[in-house]
């Protein structure tokens, strides 16, 4: 069993998940994605939602056991070298780790979940635009159905009331 605990943020202010196992993390990301797409479909999306749509999984600040996970080896190595020059290597290594496989595995597992839910989408690593487009379309259709259904119910109720009176 993987004992790792994950936290995810978007930007410096929005916490998507805090100290949870990998499977629960997948649930949270899926939930946040759905909320973001629905918010966007009614023109109420926020900056964090747009970041996820535009940048995909690379918008997520992922922490594994409270260490920031990096996926770019070149930047990581140049920053750790800079940290060594600044006598900050120990602090840096205690709070950061290079793990490009984590994003790849999140991408694979999330796409599998979306596929099971009926959404066949390309890689989510760099953007989520196709997935958002599909979710937004579904949300808009459901809204239209709900409006029609509500309209039908009101008309039916009024017709009943007219008959009774």
């Amino acid at each position: 069993m993987d004992p790792a605990r994950y936290s995810v943020r978007i930007g410096e202010s929005h916490c998507v998940a805090e100290g949870i196992p990998y499977d629960a993390l997948l649930d949270r990301i899926v939930e946040f994605t759905i909320r973001a797409a629905v918010a966007r479909s009614v023109d109420e999306s926020e900056w964090e939602h747009e970041e996820l749509r535009r940048r995909g999984l690379s918008a997520l600040q992922i922490f594994c056991n409270q260490r920031a996970v990096w996926d770019d080896r070149t930047t990581f190595e140049s920053e750790i070298a800079a940290a060594r020059r600044q006598d900050a290597a120990e602090t840096f290594e205690a709070t950061n780790e290079l793990n490009p496989a984590l994003l790849a595995s999140l991408d694979r597992d999330l796409r599998a979940r979306w596929r099971r839910a009926g959404y066949e989408v390309p890689s989510l690593l760099r953007d989520m635009k196709p997935l958002f487009a599909e979710l937004e379309r579904d949300a808009a259709e459901r809204c239209a159905d709900a409006r029609e259904s509500l309209l039908g119910e009101i008309l039916k109720a009024q017709a009943q009331e007219t008959r009774q009176s």
Binding site: G11, E46, W47, Q61, I62, T75, Q86, A88, T91, F92
Partner: protein
């Protein structure tokens, strides 16, 4: 024209006008910030031409007894003066303080007037009154002819440096007095909506600056300014061009850059500065910083330490 360049606004801002050291500014757009500027100095006024390569915001107090008149130096510039759109057919004026935001590359001509010196020189002149006491605290007037006139004369001053020193006051003071004499009639009225939005954004900015190392959420900001979340997002987009959280990130990245640019002690570490400015994920921070300023945070620190060592 003697054109100087500066990588930070403080330097060019203080040299080019009478702004005091309380200038707070931020680069809002990606790129390596560069200001090309030129200043003509006379006892009564300072005339400045400034060209910025990326979007920025600046707020500053003006030294006492000074007033500023500004026009856009070209048609491309998109700017806001105290939150209100400033077009090329407009004249911006103010005293006590300035608040400028731009959407991209921009160019301005500004004239800063020394009110005391002007009154000493022309004690009974109605022109002097128009340029000093009658000037509102901050405002914009739509006057295409006078705006073009000020732009044309200022451009001429900078293109003819040999005569500029002799004619700046003599040409500009009557011209500005004429423009500002009719200023009230052309003033663009600020709507209640703009005032409310601008006040909300300023309150949020102050809160963001006071909580640089803390998690600031949209909910916190709505509490600070008393607006609904959607209204606040609209206000930020109208006044700054960015959503609140995006703007917060840009302010913080600028804060880190300033701190790394003038390290307080020899052993300044990027990781400490970034954490002090609320960045918890060093990977994202390093990428965002590089994307914004065109260099890594450690390069900024290294450069400033080298400059510090060179004295």
């Amino acid at each position: 024209m003697n054109i100087k360049h500066a990588p930070i606004l403080e330097r060019a801002g203080i040299e080019g006008s009478y702004v005091s050291s309380s200038l707070s500014w931020a680069q809002l757009q990606r790129g390596t910030f560069d200001i090309a500027y030129s200043v003509l100095e006379e006892p009564l006024l300072r005339v400045a031409w400034r060209l910025y390569n990326v979007a920025f915001q600046a707020e500053a107090k003006i030294e006492p007894n000074r007033s500023v008149v500004a026009v856009l130096a070209d048609q491309r510039t998109r700017a806001r003066w105290f939150g209100a759109d400033l077009g090329s057919d407009m004249i911006a004026a103010g005293r006590d303080c300035i608040d400028v935001r731009t959407d991209g590359p921009s160019a301005f001509f500004s004239v800063t007037i020394d009110q005391s010196a002007l009154h000493r020189e022309f004690p009974a002149s109605p022109d002097a009154d128009a340029l000093t006491h009658d000037l509102p605290r901050f405002s914009i007037a739509r006057d295409p002819i006078q705006a073009a006139h000020i732009r044309g004369v200022t451009r001429l001053l900078f293109s003819r440096p040999s005569v500029a020193q002799r004619m700046a006051s003599g040409t500009l003071i009557p011209l500005l007095a004429d423009a500002l004499g009719n200023y009230g009639g052309c003033a663009v009225e600020r709507t209640k909506c703009l005032n409310r939005r601008f006040t909300a954004v300023r309150a949020c900015e102050a809160y963001m600056r006071d909580h640089v190392d803390a998690t600031v959420t949209l909910l916190d900001l709505t509490t600070v300014c008393g607006m609904r979340a959607r209204s606040l997002i609209n206000a930020f987009e109208a006044v700054t061009g960015f959503s609140p959280m995006d703007y917060l990130k840009r302010l913080r990245l600028n804060g880190v850059r300033r701190a790394l640019g003038r390290p307080a002690r020899a052993h300044t570490r990027v990781i400490d500065v970034a954490t002090a400015w609320g960045f918890w994920h060093m990977g994202h921070f390093a990428n965002d910083y590089r994307a914004m300023f065109g260099e890594t945070p450690s390069q900024t620190l290294l450069n400033s330490q080298r400059q510090f060592a060179l004295g």
